[in-house]
């Protein structure tokens, strides 16, 4: 690593970065140029490749192709330590702080000043106080992290990287966890850092905020850089269209199967989060039998909370959830499942499978109190095996047999098993979160067809997905979520990409939301 820097060189330059993972090309030739002493935003939807790119820049993994230049000098990072040594620091979306330690202890963790066994506490605290005052971060080094609010924790994370002499600070979706006042405060802090010559990289999907604070914006879509613009040259709508693409997939034009029988109804649902934040902000909607309601929105805007509230695993602070006209307030999760609530979880391994258990036990999960899996209190192993074979056959699950452990299957086959398990259990209302994640194209089309057939039979589906083709192709109606609020209800056959993108990213608020 050379110490000389080329004059006038960008603080960061990424040339033609390519990064592949099994089954997907996350970065497919990304270019980025960041001028020193500026706030540079990187925008894009989920899956566009932003996080992968930042991990490459931070040294968490090596790119398959392309170059990284810092201050004009080419770098190779074998680990984040190399990146830190060159002055790059990253503030992650999920904080990495120990609640039972103080701020200064968290900050020096891994980089303790002093010799041998003694930590030079005084030097550490002095330095932290100095940095805190210089940049207006206002964090008390002796405060216990567990007692700090979210905004203060984030500032502690920023101090962490500044303590290590970062001159380039990357922030990954920093405003996701903040309320509006804290967002303004963060932006003030960032401007203060920049005034001192620090370069800021800022990943976000919230275009309204980006336009407020960035000096330059790079738009990433499907693994590629699609534009590099200055905020003064674009409107939010333009940005949204760049993010989402100028053309949306064509919706399915078959006849509507929507009935007027309400299968699932949410009324003024409120779920409170930390501090004043509302995870679900007075959400109301109806799904009828024979209808698929697609939930559009960048991940982290209340979709998980919505699903958990309907399932009954997240307590509600206000409002009601009703299924087939029945208020679910005192109805247990088990009873809801028995009433015909199906669930395809968004994270199959965390929430949907017993990895070490055989497939036939996994097919029972969620339905273990019902025929054919149980007769009274006893499990019906034969019944479970029969149903499992049906699922394997009809949903093309590639496996040596129904006795194999779930972890032996590939991700796509695990997903097919879960979809099959839910669809064969005759649900009345189905929560489908990213139902074809990881599934190959052929099987994906078949699952979509299965969903359409079930819909024609009267199934009501809440479809949460980041795949626009899936959302537009399947949904009868689109509900856009931002910051826990239902901000717009759109018709998938007539919505324009700019509109959809704008609602999803806050570039535009709906005049009225249904």
């Amino acid at each position: 690593m050379s110490v000389t820097t080329a004059v006038g060189a960008p603080a960061i330059e990424l040339r033609d970065i390519v990064k592949r993972f099994p089954g997907v090309v996350a970065n497919d030739g990304v270019n980025l140029r960041v001028t020193p002493g500026t706030i540079h935003a990187i925008v894009g939807e989920n899956g566009a490749g932003k996080s992968t790119l930042m991990k490459t820049l931070y040294g968490a993994h090596r790119p398959d192709e392309g170059q990284i230049l810092v201050d004009g000098v080419e770098q190779t990072f074998r680990s984040p330590r190399d990146a830190i040594a060159v002055g790059i620091g990253m503030v992650f979306q999920h904080f990495m702080l120990a609640d039972n330690l103080t701020v200064w202890e968290n900050i020096v963790l891994g980089d303790e000043p002093g010799r041998s066994f003694r930590i030079d506490v005084g030097a550490a605290r002095r330095r932290i106080r100095e940095l805190s005052e210089r940049y207006g971060l206002d964090v008390d080094p002796d405060a216990l992290v567990g007692g700090l609010g979210v905004g203060a924790k984030q500032r502690a994370e920023i101090l962490k990287v500044l303590y290590r002499d970062a001159r380039i600070v990357i922030l990954d979706e920093p405003t996701t966890v903040l309320v509006p006042q804290e967002v303004d405060r963060l932006f003030d802090n960032l401007r203060g850092l920049v005034a001192d010559g620090v370069t800021i990289l800022f990943i976000s999907h919230k275009l309204d905020e980006v336009l407020k604070v960035a000096d330059a914006i790079t738009v990433v879509r499907m693994g590629r850089t699609v534009a590099e613009v200055a905020p003064s040259d674009v409107t939010a709508r333009d940005l949204a269209e760049l993010m989402v693409g100028s053309e949306l997939p064509k919706p399915d034009t078959r006849g509507s199967t929507v009935t007027d029988v309400v299968a699932l109804r949410l009324d003024d649902l409120v779920v409170k989060g930390e501090g004043d934040r509302l995870l679900l902000d007075h959400v109301s909607f109806e799904i009828h039998e024979g209808e698929i309601l697609g939930v559009a929105g960048v991940e982290g805007n209340g979709q998980s909370e919505l699903i958990e509230a309907i399932l009954g695993v997240l307590p509600i602070d206000q409002g009601t959830v009703a299924m087939a006209g029945r208020d679910l307030a005192r109805v247990s999760t088990r009873a809801r499942r028995e009433m015909g609530l199906g669930y395809i979880p968004q994270d199959r391994q965390q929430d949907g499978l017993l990895l070490a258990a055989p497939l036939w036990e996994n097919v029972m999960l969620g339905h273990q109190t019902q025929v054919p899996f149980a007769r009274g209190q006893w499990l019906d192993r034969q019944g479970a095996l029969r149903r499992t074979r049906v699922v394997i056959q009809e949903f093309d699950v590639r496996t040596p047999g129904p006795d194999v452990a779930a972890l032996a299957l590939s991700g796509g086959n695990q997903q097919k098993l879960i979809v099959g398990r839910e669809m064969t259990a005759s649900p009345r209302v189905l929560i489908a979160a990213h139902p074809t994640r990881g599934v190959d194209v052929g099987a994906q089309a078949e699952i979509w067809e299965d969903l359409r057939i079930a819909r024609a039979d009267g199934l009501a589906v809440l479809l949460v997905s980041a795949d626009l083709e899936e959302l537009i192709g399947l949904s009868d109606s689109l509900a856009v979520f931002l910051r826990g609020r239902l901000v717009a209800t759109l018709d998938p056959s007539t919505v324009s990409p700019a509109d959809l993108g704008s609602y999803m990213t806050g570039a535009r608020e709906a005049a009225s939301s249904t």
Partner: protein, 374 residues
Amino acid sequence: MRRRLTYALAAPLLAAAISLVVSSIALLLVGKSPATAYRAMWESLDSADALVTVLNVAAPYYVMGLAVALGFKMGLFNIGADDQYRLGALMAAAVGAAVTLPAPLHVLLIVVVAMAVAGAYAGVAGVLKVTRGVNEVVSTIMLNFIATGITAYLLTVYLRDKRVRLQSETKSIKPSGWLPSLNRALGWVGYHLPSGTVLEGFIVIAALTGVGFYLLLSRTRFGFDLRATGANPWAARSSGVNANGMIMKTIVLSGAIAGLAGMGPLLSEIHKYGDTFPTALGFTGIAVALLGRNSPTGIAVGALVWAAIEQASRGLAQAGIPPEIGKILQGTLLLSAVVAFEVVRRYGQAAEVREAAAKANAARPGQPLPAAAS
């Protein structure tokens, strides 16, 4: 299938080998001959009387192992099995000595009291966990000490047999409250034990408990919910399992089975609760559950091995070998078994994944290789 058998045997054999090596080293360090030691141990096992003793000793270990394993399967660590069974045994002995009922009822009463008291005491830890989030490892260990105090107090102040001066113990239970031995039954099938050797009837109860354990866990809805909660609490929750209810039911049931374990000595041998009552049965149960990897057959083997080592150690003092070698054998066996099981399990899992991927790929050539886990 053959591979499964190999994997099933590999770990225990490996563990046995390691523990023998370590114990041999310990013996050599104190200047004793491993060969002499092992020969003395083998000879201690080499009689009908010894084998019967092993079975008798192993039975309560087995039941205690099942009690602890039930909790483990759910991700719950019932370290307090020790105090649960002692409280249960004390109360059962006191009640049992106070009444006389026709034989089967008398025994049944004693067993029910033991299981109810032990289960209720375990429930205390359960309530703490469910209402306050107190980790059950911490609470059950602390409750251990409290139980020791309570049992001592109740025994010395209220429940003791006043006619006995030198030690504290409850009154003896009348013979109607004794569990019959199996010697006669063995006689009917033509097997006669030498006189003085008694095969205790508790073995039948232990075996039945094992069967019940298997049925409950593998064949009932409750067992499925329990295992699902232990394997993946979030998936279990989404599938409808009530987490708090599951915790309470499991810990109380675990405690009740622990109470049952104490019935071996009480009903077959000692017939009263006092200073001679075995202590630390609970911790042996934990060891045996770990050795048996929480499976009813594995725990049976583990209990037999544990009891065998104990029995075998009895002949050591005569041969001039420190009997603590038995403890070293037990300890290293446990440690190396746990490590060996984990190593073999990972090996087996990786093999299963590879095999499934190969078979899935063979069905449709030309498709991209599936990732091992997404």
